[in-house]
């Protein structure tokens, strides 16, 4: 028998210094690897791509050759893998844990959808190929449109907006076009926007050239009907209302709101970012909506990717369908065609939102998500999302202070009343959650609630996960009330970095790496 005679210890010895005290030489800490900037570790002469030799040719660059060094760092492939994998490990992600960002709908991203988006008939087709060669891709867009129309009950859908804000702009521009056609653009100047609205709403209305008139909330967190009635008038172009609203509440009076606006000759724009709470439970059409964007990257689970990309198709009522922007899809015999220029169109498109026809990659993922769920699953999604949020609302209310009475829809809103006189702020509380291994909830939004904490668990959390989360938050809340403030004000202490100096970042902006003159 061959025997390895070199023994080695296989059980812990117990006499190591406390992890917090151990200073490492490399700067890394075990699995938490230190990683400098690309420009500090890469080198201009390195390359991770093999290319064939450049054939002989006479350059035809019109004398505009680039002579100066660009200064781009390069990597071999193994070095690149390390750089990015190490950096990835400094991110929180849904795949790591509950991501309760209210309004952002951080639900599970099925990997089937990633696979399908990479099929060559979607991923490797050019937007300006002959339309006869892209019937599958156009067919997919048509199917997506059918699903969105079925879910909302609306008359038409404009697919080209590239995110929610772009969709808002698309919908509001349709409204603007309709008003212009009525010859009322000079007089219909006002857009009513609740104070609780997402910042993109007033920014969009302003970009369309309208004046913003803020609507305060009543003490149930919904549009104050009395004030709305007082503000409505013949100069109102539209109301931009989020439903369910950003406090996670269904606007009970929504039909009356729609009627009021319509009677005054205005339009009802609905911010559909929260469609995930009501699909299959009601149809947007039946709420009196004229235009609504749908964030495919929220409701239909296309991944957020650290800030994008998204897609924001807009569903339109009959009154507005005619103004949908170019390009748009029409039936063409057995197949499909894109209408790309005004001259081909028998409608009155208000213009063009961008160079091509939309976020195909998101369309594929969203449609795969919808088909996987089906009519029954989509309804269940809404129900479970609302159930999960209400379960957290009920459990967390033991120690935290809900902003409004009653049940909520897909997200639960708390204020900072439970932290009063504790010396702990919403920000501190959120940062302490990081030490507990959770991504904080949306903070300080909506603006109508002091120290707002908006929690959206989504339907893809299990009860066990919700219970663990609630247990942690309840203990944190108790701890804050008991006067143990340093755990909050110093938090996070266990994340890759401590709190960052945002004042410094804004006062003396450093927005890129620069070679030091050493």
């Amino acid at each position: 028998m061959a025997m390895n005679s070199t023994g080695r210890p296989t059980a812990p010895t117990g006499d190591v210094p406390c992890a917090e005290d151990l200073k490492t030489f490399s700067g890394s800490r075990g699995l938490m690897q230190q990683e400098p900037l690309l420009h500090e570790v890469g080198a201009p002469e390195k390359c991770g791509v093999d290319l064939p030799d450049v054939p002989e040719h006479t350059a035809r660059l019109g004398g505009l050759e680039r002579d100066e060094t660009i200064g781009l760092p390069g990597f071999s492939e193994p070095e690149a893998m390390r750089h990015y994998v190490r950096l990835s490990q400094r991110n929180y992600a849904i795949d790591l844990g509950l991501y309760p960002l209210g309004s952002c709908t951080m639900k599970h991203n099925p990997r089937l959808n990633e696979k399908l988006a990479r099929l060559p008939g979607f991923a490797d087709v050019h937007p300006l190929q002959p339309q006869s060669t892209v019937q599958g891709a156009l067919g997919l867009m048509a199917e997506l449109s059918d699903w969105l129309v079925a879910i909302t009950g609306m008359d038409a859908v404009a697919l080209s907006p590239k995110a929610g804000a772009h969709g808002e702009w698309c919908g509001m521009m349709c409204i603007r076009a309709a008003i212009e056609e009525r010859g009322e653009l000079q007089t219909r100047r006002r857009v009513l926007v609740p104070q609780s609205a997402h910042g993109t709403n007033p920014a969009t209305a302003a970009a369309c050239g309208f004046e913003i008139d803020e609507l305060p909330a009543d003490d149930t967190g919904r549009v104050d009907m009395e004030i709305l009635r007082a503000k409505i008038g013949p100069d109102v172009a539209a109301i931009m209302l989020t439903n369910p609203n950003t406090g996670g509440l269904f606007e009970r009076d929504i039909r009356e709101i729609a009627d009021l606006v319509h009677e005054a000759g205005g339009y009802f724009y609905c911010d559909g970012a929260n469609l995930n709470a009501i699909m299959g439970k009601t149809r947007v059409r039946d709420l009196g909506v004229d235009a609504m964007h749908i964030n495919l990257h929220k409701t239909f689970s296309t991944p957020h990717g650290g800030g994008g990309p998204g897609a924001g198709p807009v569903v339109l009522s009959k009154r507005l369908s005619n103004y949908a922007p170019l390009p748009y899809l029409v039936r063409d015999g057995d197949g499909w065609a894109l209408i790309e220029e005004a001259a081909q169109s028998d409608a009155k498109p208000f213009g063009r939102l961008s160079v091509f026809h939309g976020q195909m990659g998101m369309f594929v993922r969203a449609l795969a998500y919808m088909m996987s769920h089906g009519a029954d699953g989509l309804r269940q999604v809404s129900e479970d999302a609302v159930l999960n949020a209400n379960y957290l609302l009920a459990r967390l209310s033991e120690e935290m202070s809900p902003a409004f009475d009653g049940v909520c829809m897909h997200e639960a809103l708390f204020d900072d009343a439970f932290l009063k006189d504790t010396g702990v702020t919403t920000l501190d509380f959120a940062k302490a959650m990081i030490d507990e291994g959770y991504h904080p909830m949306t903070m300080y939004f909506p603006l109508i609630v002091h120290g707002a904490m908006l929690i959206e668990p989504t339907e893809t959390e299990s009860k066990e996960s919700l219970d663990r989360f609630a247990d942690s938050l309840l203990l944190l809340a108790k701890m804050a009330k008991s006067g143990d403030t340093t755990r909050f004000t110093a938090a996070p202490t266990l994340a890759p970095l401590r709190r960052l100096d945002e004042t410094r970042a804004a006062r003396t902006p450093i927005l890129r790496w620069k070679a030091t003159d050493a």
């Binding site: 492939e77 079925a150 039909r255 991944p303 990309p309």
Partner: protein, 449 residues
């Protein structure tokens, strides 16, 4: 349902804890008239992974993908080879399933890669700083126009004759809500210097594309000089960023703002999106404060360690609301990562070689086509895309070639509208084109003519 973790026992226990008797009690705020009692009409019920995959695979097969044909389309979207490691890395859970980095302590991965991206974009364009992306090149161009109008406090904007017409339409649509004075010059091939004739001291900006929509290269330097002499800003647009590995950067030629499509690096064709809009400008407070979108910036944490945060946010909608510089929120996050990784794999050497290869191959094909009867290359100069005049209707020729399995380019009329440049065909060449593809194009073109 494979994506829904709750079971009936969970649901019952949770309803009991909430204190309601049925799920519909939670939806009681929906007006009775608007409640949907049954399932949504007209939709199938849930489907297995296998069934969904089959359906999509069938749909996918109904298109002719670029990889399955000799392929020469450009016009603002280009087919380059993207290394496998790029797609692997962007699918890391921590990148793919993270939100916008609002909590910097646990988002340094995203924030540092954004800072690196901004640096790469600034270097590539020859500008001082770049933002963390916009939707695509066309919306970036529209945002740049808004930005220039705010910086100069002027309302007139001149779009050069070589600007991609769909970019021009995007800009024209984007300014409808304002009182801008738009001068859209009649499309023409080598006439971009004519913008100088439209300049005056009321002009906020001139928008010039390089290479222009016909592929022709434009010397921006005299344009920049003329613009600056009357206090006008030069917005340089690039739809093919690989060109910047070989062609003088807009920064070096005097551009004030650069708006570009970054799709060529790291991102596939994907039938038009998602792509990645690049926006770069001078390091001038006035510029940066008027810029749209997000910026990642460097700072330190409480312990003095270097880190990154989203900064200068008071420009943005979530703080500035109706006075924001733009309404953009979600941008092209993951596409910036793909861009950044691909560019890091290329590095200086690789990008220059890639660009040279694109140009050399385009020169080779241009020479071959120019030798054909009934085909005339129109460009004086180009990078990897050029225009040819054909004896016939270019749209018809493209259709005929497609029937023969060749995606031979884009008829100019597809961009400019039927009746304009009907006999002009635009042909793009990249490193992905082999000699066999050239042969096939020549054969198909000859037959279609």
């Amino acid at each position: 349902m494979r994506y829904l973790p709750l079971n009936e026992n969970d649901r019952a226990a949770m309803l009991a804890r909430i204190g309601v008797s049925s799920i519909d009690d939670l939806f009681a705020d929906i007006p009775a008239k608007a409640r949907l009692d049954g399932l949504i009409e007209g939709l199938p019920t849930h489907a297995s992974e296998m069934a969904v995959e089959r359906h999509f695979t069938d749909l996918s097969r109904q298109s002719l993908s670029a990889g399955d044909a000799p392929f020469f389309c450009g016009g603002g979207a280009y087919r380059h080879h993207v290394p496998a490691s790029v797609d692997h890395l962007i699918q890391r859970s921590e990148f793919l399933t993270a939100y916008t980095p609002y909590q910097p302590e646990i988002a340094q991965g995203t924030l540092q890669t954004l800072f690196e991206f901004q640096t790469q974009v600034a270097q590539l364009t020859g500008m001082d700083v770049a933002n963390a992306s916009l939707y695509d090149g066309s919306t970036a161009t529209a945002e740049a126009v808004h930005m220039a109008a705010r910086i100069t406090r002027r309302r007139k904007c001149v779009l050069a004759p070589g600007l991609h017409p769909h970019y021009a339409q995007t800009v024209q649509t984007a300014v409808q809500g304002e009182t801008m004075d738009m001068h859209v010059m009649t499309p023409a091939m080598g006439a971009d210097a004519d913008v100088m004739g439209a300049l005056d001291d009321q002009t906020a900006c001139i928008v010039v594309q390089n290479p222009n929509v016909f592929g022709e290269l434009v010397d921006l330097e005299p344009l920049a000089k003329a613009a600056h002499a009357v206090g006008t800003l030069l917005i340089a647009v690039t739809t093919e960023v690989v060109s910047l590995g070989l062609v003088k950067s807009p920064g070096e030629m005097g551009a004030d703002i650069v708006a570009a499509e970054g799709q060529s690096i790291g991102n596939g064709l994907s039938f038009g999106g998602p792509y990645v809009g690049l926006l770069a400008c001078r390091d001038d407070r006035k510029f940066i404060r008027q810029a749209p979108g997000r910026f990642a910036g460097e700072t330190v944490d409480e312990a003095g360690k270097r880190g990154y945060v989203l900064t200068l946010s008071t420009r943005e909608q979530h703080i500035r609301r109706e006075k924001a510089t733009s309404n953009i929120c979600t941008n092209s996050g993951l596409c910036t990562l793909a861009f950044s990784i691909h560019l890091a794999l290329l590095g200086e050497v690789g990008l220059r070689k890639l660009a040279a290869l694109n140009h050399a191959r385009a020169c080779q094909l241009a020479d071959r086509l120019d030798a054909l009867d009934g085909v005339e290359v129109l460009n004086q100069s180009f990078f990897n895309e050029f225009a040819v005049r054909v004896s016939g209707n270019a749209s018809q020729i493209i259709e005929d070639m497609a029937k023969a399995g060749v995606l031979g380019g884009i008829p100019a009329a597809r961009l400019f509208g039927a009746g304009y440049f009907d006999d002009v065909l635009m042909i793009a060449v990249t490193e992905t084109n082999r000699d066999e593809d050239f042969d096939a194009l020549v054969v198909a073109l000859r037959e279609a003519l």
